[in-house]
């Protein structure tokens, strides 16, 4: 059969329209996800084979362990709940953009494991608050600082899965070799000892104190060191930040403490990254959260360094209460999920005592401080030093990182990091850098949180 040009065009056009329609037509009802069960008040039983999606950020071996955890749910509890869970891996740094895109496209997951502050997720209606009884459960079973992190407008919006707060880590053998019998615990003692311990041997330089100045820890640790010197970084009116204060003597003393160690030549700044210094066994002291020794030392090929670690919380001056900033990740439910009841059931399995498998995963595999109050000890895989320095000494003095209650925290953190880098690399002096930072932060706070009302 011979087709004329017109017939050919018609055929192509009809085929094209047909294909387009087929691609754009929604799935038939039998393939569509189960209907929402939350709106009618009482949760309907889960439809058999309801599929939930959860976002995790882990890859590699940790990702495999996370998959094992979800496989356990799918094989042991999932059939009873009529739920099957699938992991979607989204790198931590890409959460925001993927969240934006997937919500616009209607392909958002049902549950997120995320570190984006509750304030940001709740005000933008990304997540929904936990059911009342679960809010009560969290309030009863978790550490205060983690409950505060999950709270906004008087409601609890998620389960705190992670809890990270810094402490001083040090190489016991190196301190012993240097004849140090008393572990330094105050900022001044640490600086003095760092200078004393820094030395060269066999062509290698050993650094008395390591600083992670070129990445997130600079801004994460910033409020904490200000507290240590008796200052405050924010002034809040209820939940709303009204003032930010970095051009202060306390802040200058805090940043000056970091910079002083660079001037003393006691740090690896400019020579090596924080992680490399520890992995190569060249770091003697440093201040960092518990995930670091687990992931980068114990599981990162430096088990000997991990085994040699001592851990102690850093003591402030006598008149100041010991306190450290804490932050972390949370398990939260997507507001527009079509399976709210199933998501809740799944999250309860992950977080509820006595099993709390997700807490165990986070604490034992990732190396976070336990957020639940009744977490069983001793913790498998944790050395005695880690148990003592982090779990016993640091956890009780944690206070929520104030940036988690600030909408402009991302921009503020970036501005702080840039300032800290300039000071640590001796490009700028402490006072002028802080004065300039103050102007920048005032502008950011006014723009991002200035119009917030209770």
């Amino acid at each position: 059969m011979k087709l004329s040009r017109r017939e050919m065009l018609k055929a192509l056009g009809i085929t094209g329209v047909g294909l387009t329609l087929a691609a754009c037509t929604p799935a038939p009802a039998s393939e569509a996800p189960a209907a929402s069960s939350s709106e009618g008040g009482e949760a309907a039983p889960a439809a058999a084979g309801t599929e939930l999606t959860i976002w995790f950020h882990w890859g590699g071996a940790t990702g495999e362990r996370a998959q094992e955890l979800i496989d356990t749910y799918n094989s042991e509890q999932g059939p009873d709940d009529g739920v099957s869970v699938t992991i979607e891996t989204v790198p931590g740094g890409e959460y925001r953009q993927k969240m934006t895109a997937s919500r616009m496209a209607g392909t958002a997951p049902d549950v997120y494991h995320t570190s984006i502050p509750i304030l940001e997720l709740a005000t933008n209606e990304v997540i929904r608050e936990l059911p009342d009884e679960e809010q009560a459960y969290v309030r009863e079973h978790y550490l205060d600082s983690t409950i505060e992190r999950m709270s906004f407008q008087g409601k609890v919006w998620g389960y705190p899965t992670e809890h990270q707060a810094p402490a001083l880590i040090y190489r016991r053998s190196m301190l012993e070799a240097a004849g140090v019998t008393e572990i330094p615990a105050s900022a001044q003692e640490i600086r003095a000892l760092a200078k004393e311990l820094t030395h060269e041997a066999d062509g290698q330089k050993y650094y008395g104190f390591t600083q992670w100045y070129d990445n997130y820890p600079a801004s994460f640790h910033f409020p904490g060191i200000i507290w240590r010197f008796g200052g405050e970084m924010y002034e809040f009116e209820g939940d709303i930040p009204r003032k930010i204060m970095v051009d202060t003597p306390e802040c200058a003393a805090a940043l000056g403490w970091w910079r002083g160690m660079v001037d003393d030549g006691s740090t690896q700044v400019g020579d090596l990254g924080f992680t490399e210094a520890w992995q190569q066994g060249l770091a003697i002291m440093g201040e960092i959260e518990p995930w670091f020794p687990f992931i980068n030392l114990r599981d990162g090929g430096a088990e000997d360094v991990y085994e040699d670690l001592g851990v102690v919380y850093v003591r402030p001056a006598e008149s100041i209460s010991p306190v450290v900033q804490s932050g972390g990740w949370e398990l939260v439910a997507e507001r527009n999920s079509e399976h709210p009841a199933e998501s809740d059931t799944f999250m309860q399995w992950m977080m509820h005592e006595p099993g709390m498998p997700f807490s165990h995963f986070i604490v034992e595999i990732i190396g976070s401080l336990p957020a639940p109050l009744n977490y069983p000890t001793p913790i498998p895989g944790w050395s005695e030093a880690m148990m003592d320095g982090y779990a016993a000494q640091t956890a009780p003095i944690t206070r929520m990182h104030p940036g988690l209650k600030v909408l402009g925290d991302g921009e503020i953190g970036t501005a702080i990091s840039e300032t800290v880098q300039a000071v640590m690399l001796q490009q700028d002096d402490v006072e002028p850098a802080l004065a300039s930072l103050q102007t920048t932060l005032d502008e950011i706070l006014e723009r991002t949180d200035g119009s917030r009302t209770a």
């Binding site: 953009q97 997720l121 991302g410 840039e418 880098q421 300039a422």
Partner: protein, 312 residues
């Protein structure tokens, strides 16, 4: 009867039955797939970006929550020290990459143009880095630049040169990234310039040689003018690419140390996806687009004449 037959048809025939319309329709139908594609995936997003400039939207909430702010983002951009600083860095990066990349690429092409043995092998060797992904190269060079144990400083150490803080010193970090990018693109410049050199007729050189022209005169009076279209292509493409640099910055320095490598596209990325200021980020992107457009038009104007056709 005869009058009716002679009446003009245009007044009575519907437009869809007219020959001119049907002929046009056929053309439009052929063009339809690509037009639909461009409308949805190119013009649509461009239009949406232009509109987004005038709104404040944080990317999380529905678009209906976006707040109209008029031209305030444009005003803010021109007073934004970070943005202006990123523009200075981007301009420095572009100048270094274009001048050095094109210069060295041209020299390499001139050198290889006379090579007769192992031509394929030499060209392939130089072209190899072009084929490797920028992400992998950035990670690799990040390790090579490592101040204490990196390959480059180890080699320098062997000849008594003290270690250089390639990515840590704010005064040289941007140039270190330029070096990696130039190295990676050298093969591409070389291949394009070689193609341009091969297109220059040999008789031009023979005639010049007979007239007693020196090598430098031959290069200056023959090679360079005849290579003008090739140069235009390479420079335009390199300038556009350089002004849009992102991957090596994102992987190697994340804009640091102390903002020394913060470039426009990286700042747009941070503004949009870390600070969740989509309207403002779009404004910055549109400003960058306008700058690239103007620079490209200037280049096209400057290099408009030249090439082989100017000799005939």
């Amino acid at each position: 009867m005869a009058t009716a037959t002679l009446a003009p048809r245009t007044g009575t025939t519907p437009f869809w039955r007219r020959r001119s319309f049907r002929r046009g329709l056929t053309g439009w139908l052929f063009a339809a797939p690509i037009l639909i594609y461009f409308t949805i995936f190119v013009f649509g997003p461009i239009l949406a970006s232009l509109l987004m400039m005038f709104y404040d939207w944080n990317g999380f909430g529905p678009l209906s929550q976006a707040k109209f702010v008029g031209l305030s983002h444009v005003t803010e951009a021109f007073g934004d020290e970070k943005f202006l600083g990123s523009f200075r860095n981007t301009a420095t990066y572009a100048i270094v990459v274009v001048l050095c990349g094109v210069g060295v690429g041209l020299l390499l092409a001139l050198a290889l143009n006379g090579v007769t043995k192992l031509v394929g092998f030499v060209r392939s060797t130089y072209y190899l880095p072009v084929m490797l992904p920028m992400t992998a190269m950035s990670l690799l060079w990040g390790l090579m630049y490592q101040p204490r144990y990196g390959f480059i400083n180890q080699v320098l150490g062997m000849v008594g040169i003290p270690p250089v803080k390639w990515l840590i010193n704010p005064n040289i970090a941007l140039y270190s990234i330029c070096l990696m990018v130039i190295w990676k693109g050298l093969g591409w410049y070389m291949v394009i310039f070689l193609a341009g050199l091969k297109a220059i007729p040999e008789e031009f050189y023979e005639a010049a040689q007979m007239d007693g022209a020196t090598a430098w005169q031959r290069f200056w009076k023959i090679t360079l003018p005849l290579l003008k279209p090739t140069l235009l292509f390479v420079i335009v493409v390199t300038v556009i690419g350089s002004l849009q640099v992102f991957s090596p910055i994102f992987i190697m320095t994340q804009g640091g140390p102390a903002n020394a490598t913060n470039v426009v596209v990286y700042w747009v990325y941070l503004t949009a996806f870390q600070f969740m200021r989509f309207g403002y980020a779009t404004t910055l992107a549109v400003i960058l687009f306008v700058v690239i457009l103007v620079i490209t038009l200037i280049q096209l104007r400057l290099f408009r004449e030249g090439g082989l056709q100017s000799y005939y």
